[in-house]
């Protein structure tokens, strides 16, 4: 409880309370996050289960419109899925992929950055060169190539179960250099401080110094870029799904819903694109707003790029 007390009295919490944007964006984010985690409880239908919907309900408009039905608040998509439920499940997928991909890239990036920064020398230059090369090719292209490769390598049989973890790895792989560079930069700053010297003098081994002593002090910038990276990863997934390289058709994410709706945008079934689009934009927007605020408050020396 003491740490909670300390947190409540901190500058961080103080400015959070005083900033309506931070407060608002965080509440919306938290609300949507909870909705997605508890999707099975919140959504009226489990639309990822193919036996729950029927083609005869296809393309019904939202319930307040002429042909709308009470059962389907925001209408249905082309397969007859309840759009409202599908969006919740799609959001859940987006959250899983966003958070999962960021965890993956953070772990990879932190290990590389820490090793490179602390050991220096040839290890450093080799690792950072690899990061540079990958960083120089825009992440979308890396993700597209990786996605094409992975899809083929794993064959067709178990694609449905593998799609989610694969997307996490693909999006994670394409963005790790950002973490590696950030962590390396702060490790270089920390490395020569007294406490590290002290730890070295008392004979602690390298791994212990790296992970127990230096790492915690590099976490602030990691936290800051992480929020933006989650938004980034969600948008990457949407882009991949839009290009048809994302989630399988039976488990649509927000990106695949938008893509499916794009085909229907001229036929008058605007809701298939509109609602998922709004949800996707809202979700990434609140994350970005909160991330901006976080950066301003913590104001670490960030690597820009």
């Amino acid at each position: 409880m003491r740490s909670w007390q300390r947190f409540r009295q901190s500058y961080f919490f103080y400015s959070f309370k005083r900033d309506p944007v931070a407060l608002g964006s965080f509440s919306i984010f938290f609300f949507l996050f909870m909705v997605s985690i508890f999707a099975p409880l919140v959504a009226p239908y489990n639309t990822y289960d193919t036996s729950t919907y029927d083609i005869m309900d296809a393309e019904l408009p939202p319930s307040w419109m002429d042909d709308g039905e009470e059962r389907f608040l925001l209408g249905t998509d082309i397969q007859g899925r309840d759009l409202y439920s599908t969006m919740i499940y799609g959001l859940r997928t987006s959250v899983f992929i966003g958070v999962g991909a960021v965890l993956f890239q953070a772990i990879l990036g932190i290990i590389v950055g820490l090793t490179a920064g602390y050991l220096g020398g040839r290890v450093d230059s080799t690792l950072m060169r690899i990061a540079d090369i990958q960083f120089s090719i825009p992440y979308l292209i890396v993700a597209i190539i990786a996605s094409a490769i992975f899809q083929l390598a794993f064959g067709v049989g178990r694609f449905e179960e593998l799609a989610l973890p694969l997307l996490i790895v693909i999006i994670g792989l394409s963005e790790w250099p950002k973490y590696a560079r950030t962590v390396r930069a702060s490790v270089l700053g920390e490395k020569n401080k007294e406490y590290v010297e002290a730890a070295r003098v008392i004979g602690l081994n390298r791994r212990l110094i790296m992970f127990r002593h230096i790492l915690p002090n590099t976490m602030t910038p990691v936290l800051v870029i992480s929020t933006i990276q989650v938004a980034q990863a969600i948008m990457s997934e949407a882009a991949l799904s839009f290009l048809g390289l994302g989630m399988p058709v039976t488990k649509p994410s927000l990106g695949s819903l938008i893509k499916a709706g794009f085909e229907y945008v001229f036929s008058g079934s605007w809701w298939i694109t509109f609602f998922p689009g709004i949800l996707l934009v809202t979700f990434t927007l609140v994350i970005i707003l909160f991330g901006d605020w976080l950066r301003d408050v913590l104001n670490p020396k960030l690597y820009k790029g």
Binding site: S125, R129, D132, I133, S136, I137, P138, Y139, L140, I141, I144, I145, A148, I149, L152, A153, A231, M235, A238, A239, F242, L243, G255, I258, F262, V265, F266, T273, G277, L280, V281, T284, L285, I288, L289, D292, K304, G305
Partner: protein
């Protein structure tokens, strides 16, 4: 400097070999290009004969060796779909992509400076608030959603602007350009806006914050004290100093702009390199695919090298990476 460039060239070769290697490893799994060449009724034996003739049945190393040998001579194979050397295909599609990037760059540059400066000078007006609000939203809207919305509003409902393709183009010394015809320029508008929408908000914010920072500095205060006219202070003294960071960031971000042409070109059926790449994936045109990856890899290494060199010139305090 010389050592630096040599190192970068070695790096570029290294990147190419790796990319080509990856491309080659997956190409057999990307589908059979022969299937797209022949009609659906052609027998298995006939297809096998064709595969043999194309050398697709050779062992991996033989194929890869042949590819590398030819690549050294600048020959990256023949596209199965276009029936032309892959390099020619890529070069013939390059103008479209470059013009799209150019169009949106112009749009970004034309808009970001006045808006950025205005919002820095007059941060409290409703226009500034509106711009800042919408620029935040702009970052959160995926480019394909922007593109769909634009097509729907301006192409379908209002019918003001064409919604697909490049329109009329003219050939100038082998460069197929849409910039010189009215039709071509009209076709460029919506795709350029879509593509610029990912970068424009970032630049407006960047210029705004740089400008605000500069306005706080001593020498601007001194300029005020001297009694210089407002516009002179803003546009000459302050603005000049926001340029450096903008230029550097731009060098890096142009690569990202290029990557997003993939999405923009898909939605607008813009016949550029990104469109060609996704079509090649779909058609299993593996030769074109590998060539594209190699060309793009080289392009990015070149862009980054140029940016690094330029950065070194502009700001001598920065050591060039890798040059110890």
């Amino acid at each position: 400097m010389f050592a630096f460039i040599v190192r970068r060239i070695i790096q570029a070769i290294f990147v190419m070999v790796i990319i080509a290697g990856i491309g080659f490893t997956v190409q057999n799994k990307l589908g059979d290009p022969v299937r797209d060449m022949v009609g659906e009724r052609v027998s298995v034996a006939e297809r096998e004969a064709l595969r043999d003739k194309l050398g697709l049945n050779d062992p991996f190393l033989t194929q890869f060796g042949r590819f590398v040998r030819n690549a050294v001579h600048g020959d990256l194979g023949i596209s199965y779909f276009h029936n032309k050397p892959t390099v020619d295909v890529i070069l013939s599609k390059a103008p479209a992509t470059l013009e799209l990037v150019f169009g949106s760059t112009v749009m970004i540059l034309v808009l970001c400076f006045p808006i950025g400066i205005y919002t820095a000078i007059k941060p409290k007006t409703w226009f500034s608030r509106f711009v800042m609000g919408s620029s935040t939203i702009g970052v959160a809207v995926p480019v394909f959603l922007t593109a769909i919305t634009l097509i729907y509003i301006f192409g379908v409902e209002l019918k003001w602007l064409p919604s697909y393709g490049r329109g009329e183009t003219v050939d100038i010394w082998g460069w197929d350009t849409g910039l010189l015809t009215a039709d071509g320029l009209l076709h460029l508008i919506l795709p350029s806006i879509s593509l610029s929408s990912i970068m424009l908000p970032l630049y407006i914010r960047l210029i705004r914050s740089e400008m605000m920072e500069v306005l706080e500095t001593e020498y601007i205060k001194f300029a005020w004290a001297k009694g210089l006219r407002r516009y002179r202070v803003w546009l000459v003294h302050a603005f000049k100093n926001t340029l450096l960071p903008v230029v550097t960031v731009f060098g890096v971000e142009i690569g990202i702009l290029f990557a997003f042409t993939l999405l923009t070109e898909t939605v607008f059926q813009w016949q550029g390199m990104g469109f060609m790449f996704l079509e090649a994936v779909e058609r299993s045109d593996t030769a074109l695919l590998v060539a594209y990856l190699v060309v793009v890899g080289v392009m990015f290494v070149v862009i980054n090298t140029l940016v690094d060199i330029a950065y070194g010139f502009i700001n001598p305090m920065v050591r060039i990476t890798g040059a110890k």
